[in-house]
């Protein structure tokens, strides 16, 4: 069995090992032990904090195999993006052009530097070991962040977004960057990402990036083609998130043009489908006559005691309790009569 839980100090070495294999680009783990340790400490403080309004908290989760206690993945969420500044993105505007005299009617896309995502909760780092990519635990890890938000809504905003890495070539170049950011920053894509530390909330962005909308038809073909396209490494995350209810068309990243998925929580399946159920201990012999079992993510805990697992069971819609085997109860650290939230995976 696997559990998703808040990161602990003891996980630092394991995270360092994961960081060594993750791809270059935005929103992945940092490469140095020092920075990883800082992340972990910040997360521990965030989970322990009493929060009334989402602010600078950042929560980091790990996927652990209970069999051998290896760490097989990690995912994080920021309580409020750009909390010490402004989160910048390009809004994808559509301008209708109509001339009745000339009988012309078409739309022109324009990218506008905007700060609308500031204050949204931001899903960030997501990485699972390739061996787990097809397992339901990959989906569990991705959704654990939202399950935590269901359990602790006061820690998060009403809207969520996820920037996904855009496409880059073998040399780490980005055609979107070359057409836009490079002209203002006068440096290579990877250099720019390095100096800015992957951030999107810095003063230098407003100093350097274009103030006026960028008309998309004026961009070279390869840059246009890169808009909203994901880096192959992000495909799994993309599929999980769109299935969750995130929408992709409104914003793109200002550096590499990668998609920024966003949604109001009311549009997300984890929020709309979450069922609160009391825990009961599983009968030794499950009822074979019931409907076929369904895979559920089951989670508990609004703080550092957060835990989430995958479990198959009969549909819970019409039930008041969820029957959990003892092992699952142990993994979740719950017992008979406790409350858990359950969402179909």
């Amino acid at each position: 069995m696997y559990v998703v839980r808040p990161v602990e100090i003891a996980d630092i070495a394991a995270l360092e090992a994961l960081a060594a294999v993750t791809m270059p680009g935005v929103h992945t783990l940092p490469k140095t032990r020092e920075k990883i340790a800082a992340l972990v400490e910040r997360s521990i403080a965030s989970f322990a904090a009493h929060v009334d309004m989402p602010s600078e908290e950042s929560y980091l989760f790990v996927l652990e195999s209970l069999a051998d206690h290896t760490i097989l993945g990690t995912a994080s969420i920021y309580a409020a993006a750009g909390s010490n500044g402004t989160y910048f993105s390009f809004r994808n505007d559509v301008i209708q052009q109509v001339s009745r005299d000339l009988n012309i009617s078409h739309s022109v896309h324009a990218l506008t530097l905007c700060s609308e995502l500031t204050g949204y909760s931001q899903l960030s780092t997501f990485y699972v070991d390739p061996s787990m990519c097809d397992a339901p635990e990959a989906a569990l890890l991705s959704r654990a962040r939202l399950l935590f938000a269901v359990l602790a809504p006061q820690r998060f905003a009403d809207r969520f977004f996820v920037p996904l890495a855009g496409i880059t070539d073998a040399q780490g170049g980005s055609p979107f960057w070359d057409a836009l950011g490079r002209k203002f920053f006068q440096m290579d894509f990877l250099d720019a990402e390095r100096v800015i530390g992957g951030a999107r909330n810095r003063t230098l962005i407003v100093e350097l990036m274009p103030h006026y909308p960028v008309y998309v038809p004026l961009l070279p073909g390869d840059a246009q083609a890169a808009m909203g396209q994901i880096h192959p490494s992000g495909e799994l995350a993309f599929n999980l998130l769109t299935a969750e209810g995130f929408e992709a068309d409104d914003y793109i990243d200002i550096f590499d043009g990668g998609p920024i998925l966003q949604a109001h929580k009311h549009a997300l399946r984890t929020f709309t489908g979450a069922l609160q159920r009391r825990v009961a201990t599983c009968p030794a012999e499950p009822d074979r006559n019931r409907e076929p079992p369904v895979a559920y993510a089951i989670a508990t805990g609004a703080d550092q005691h957060f835990r989430a697992v995958v479990m198959a069971c009969a549909p819970l819609e019409s039930l008041a309790v969820v029957a959990l085997p003892v092992a699952v109860q142990a993994a979740l650290q719950v017992t008979d009569g406790d409350t858990v939230v359950c969402v179909r995976l």
């Binding site: 005299d101 012309i104 002209k183 920053f185 440096m187 230098l204 006026y212 004026l218």
Partner: protein
């Protein structure tokens, strides 16, 4: 001899014939009898001062007095853009700088503007190929400055001239291909025709309104911003000699430059002088600075309704000019009348 004079109603036929020679590229001189007739009517009313100054369109023809043939045409429009918006791109600069990264980026930008609204425009210059020799082109182009110097109160402070932009093979405009085509989705020539017909609302409807960074355009388009068509280069130089400069305004379709001047800073305003027709006194003649003897001089009468101008070799000396009889006749002047004079060519300050 050649004399430049105010157009008259009966020049219309000759003007039409000339317009058939112009070819594409000049939108204000098309062989269209209705358009030309309207224009001549306005021009005649302008010289007669029967319409308000800002509606006037002073049109001049160059007449070959030996044959009576019209050799060229040019005009001064008192004020552009007062009935139809007059669009240009203005080239500006934006600096993007970050101390933190030690990055300092200077970017050129294009602003869609109507800044030149109300300016006086030099336009519709055409010299018949048979007459493209000697100083004829200069005479035709520069006559307008002498006219302005004679009647400066009739003009706004800002004077402009639109120059035909650079075109590559087969009339292709690299600037249009790099910018306008994305928004208009039609050929350059078609766009050009529509504007000639005064159908300009499509510009407001389809043109991108937000400032553009020049760096977004393909190199080929950037290279031609403010560049004139090669055949227009000599005309540009003539205007620059008179004090007109490219100040960063270009045509929205082909990025051809607009030359500008303050009327008060024109060479004609600074250096043109009035002189009485007659012989200079001995003393004046003796003291006159020694110039090259055959330095040509633009000479005009001072009569609005019957404005006439020619190129003379008589030099004004301390307020007097010994204008030959024949030239006096062409200017409809007599001894004792006052004329305005300006050296055809520019004399630079040798001390800087």
């Amino acid at each position: 001899m050649l004399v430049v004079r105010a157009i008259k109603a009966d020049d219309l036929d000759a003007l039409y014939v000339m317009a058939t020679q112009v070819g594409s590229g000049m939108t204000t001189l098309k062989p269209d009898m209705k358009m030309l007739g309207d224009r001549v009517r306005v021009a005649v009313a302008s010289f007669a001062e029967t319409i308000p100054p800002h509606e006037r369109d002073y049109m001049f023809v160059m007449e070959d007095t030996d044959t009576g043939r019209i050799a060229g045409v040019c005009a001064i429009k008192s004020a552009v853009g007062l009935t139809e918006p007059f669009y240009n791109y203005r080239i500006g600069t934006l600096v993007h700088s970050s101390r933190e990264l030690d990055v300092f980026t200077r970017m050129e930008t294009l602003y869609l503007s109507n800044d030149l609204t109300g300016s006086t425009e030099l336009c519709s210059l055409f010299l018949h190929p048979d007459y493209r020799s000697g100083n004829n082109g200069k005479l035709l182009s520069k006559c307008r400055f002498l006219f302005i110097a004679q009647f400066p109160h009739l003009f706004t402070e800002k004077l402009i001239a639109e120059m035909r932009g650079y075109q590559a093979e087969a009339g292709r405009s690299p600037f249009y291909e790099g910018l306008g085509r994305h928004f208009f989705k039609m050929d350059f020539n078609h766009v050009d025709e529509l504007t000639a017909l005064g159908k300009k609302s499509f510009i407001a409807e389809l043109m991108p309104r937000q400032p553009l960074y020049v760096a977004y355009l393909p190199q080929e388009a950037r290279d031609v911003i403010g560049k004139v068509h090669p055949s227009t280069a000599p005309a540009r130089r003539l205007l620059e000699q008179e004090g007109m400069h490219f100040e960063g305004y270009v045509d929205i379709f082909d990025a051809g430059p607009v030359l500008q001047a303050r009327v008060s800073e024109l060479r004609a305003m600074r250096d043109s002088t009035l002189a009485q027709i007659g012989l200079a006194g001995d003393w004046d003649t003796a003291c006159a600075p020694e110039t090259a003897p055959a330095e040509p001089v633009l000479v005009s009468n001072t009569n609005m309704r019957d404005f006439r101008m020619l190129l003379s070799h008589a030099a004004p000396v301390n307020g007097a000019i010994a204008l030959p009889e024949a030239e006096q006749k062409l200017l409809h002047c007599h001894t004792g009348d006052t004329v305005r004079t300006l050296s055809l060519n520019v004399r630079k300050n040798p001390n800087v």
